[in-house]
Subunit: 146 residues, 2 copies
DNA sequence: CCATCACATTAGAATATTCGAATATGATTA
DNA sequence: TAATCATATTCGAATATTCTAATGTGATGG
């Protein structure tokens, strides 16, 4: 078993997230998380036309989110990375829950941030950030995005 | 502080993932994970035109991934959901790592799946899935995707 | 071998995203 | 108050994604 860790760029990461960012593909992953399914079953569960489901499966296959084995004339798809579904669920359940802080909370947040992250934010005497000066420009800006 | 949990659909989830699925937006999140930054600093770090960065910030704002406070004439952006960045990192580091199993492994996986998930996969005597029969069609297919 | 089932692939129209250019706005400074 | 700085917004054009319809393909059954 060969591991590949070829310097995944932001572009790669974004590609994965975009791939996951489609309701039908999420639905497929959700269904496959409960066990392998053949294409026709998936179609029926999602109530989507065959070609469309097949296309989404193709996309998921291309990124190795899913894989399949042949069972007679059926193709049974399954999640190629069992861990991903759970991680994804975490993001979507915990990460998306919208917390709407009161304006007061926002202000407290802001001053907390102002105060506590002073080491990270360069500022001048009056609590305002330095501008027009050579701030930290050297932080692997080499990595090209998009 | 008011919590909102308005029945997030697959569509909502997909929307979040698509939003996150852009290299510049990921870069912004990555930078903000280290502490608040004003727009100009972000621009310079990412080497992207102002309008573009502003547009991406607007998108992130709309989904409450980021928020900002005004500091003089600067707008300092920060991550509105600190947890999300870490969850995201988990997905991208652990979830994306491409494991390329050997063909043998794939076959073993397949037979393991065939054997062990029998309870999940309806089959007939010869180890082939039932088809054309009323399989499990009742699984909240009500939730519309897309 | 021929028909059929289960699925994949292609092609192109419809739709959505993204970007750069231009312009607008709000806070600060002169 | 005028100029300027920092940032936002708007408007198309360029590009990418997604869907539907049509067709191709491989395995199986007759």
């Amino acid at each position: 078993m060969i591991m590949e860790q070829k310097h995944l760029t932001l572009r790669d990461h974004a590609g994965l997230l975009r791939l996951l960012g489609h309701p039908v593909r999420l639905a497929i992953i959700q269904r496959l998380a409960a066990g392998p399914r053949c294409v026709t079953d998936i179609q029926e569960l999602l109530e989507k036309p065959q070609a469309n489901v097949s296309q989404h499966l193709m996309a998921l296959r291309a990124h190795r989110i899913v894989d399949h084995y042949q069972d007679g004339k059926l193709r049974c798809y399954y999640l190629a990375r069992p861990g991903l579904a759970k991680l994804l669920a975490d993001v979507l359940e915990n990460g998306y829950a919208v917390v709407r802080p009161s304006p007061e909370q926002v202000r407290r947040d802001a001053s907390r941030l102002r105060g506590e992250t002073a080491a990270e934010i360069p500022r001048n005497g009056r609590g305002r950030q330095l501008r027009g000066r050579p701030r930290r420009l050297a932080e692997l800006t080499t990595e090209q995005n998009r």
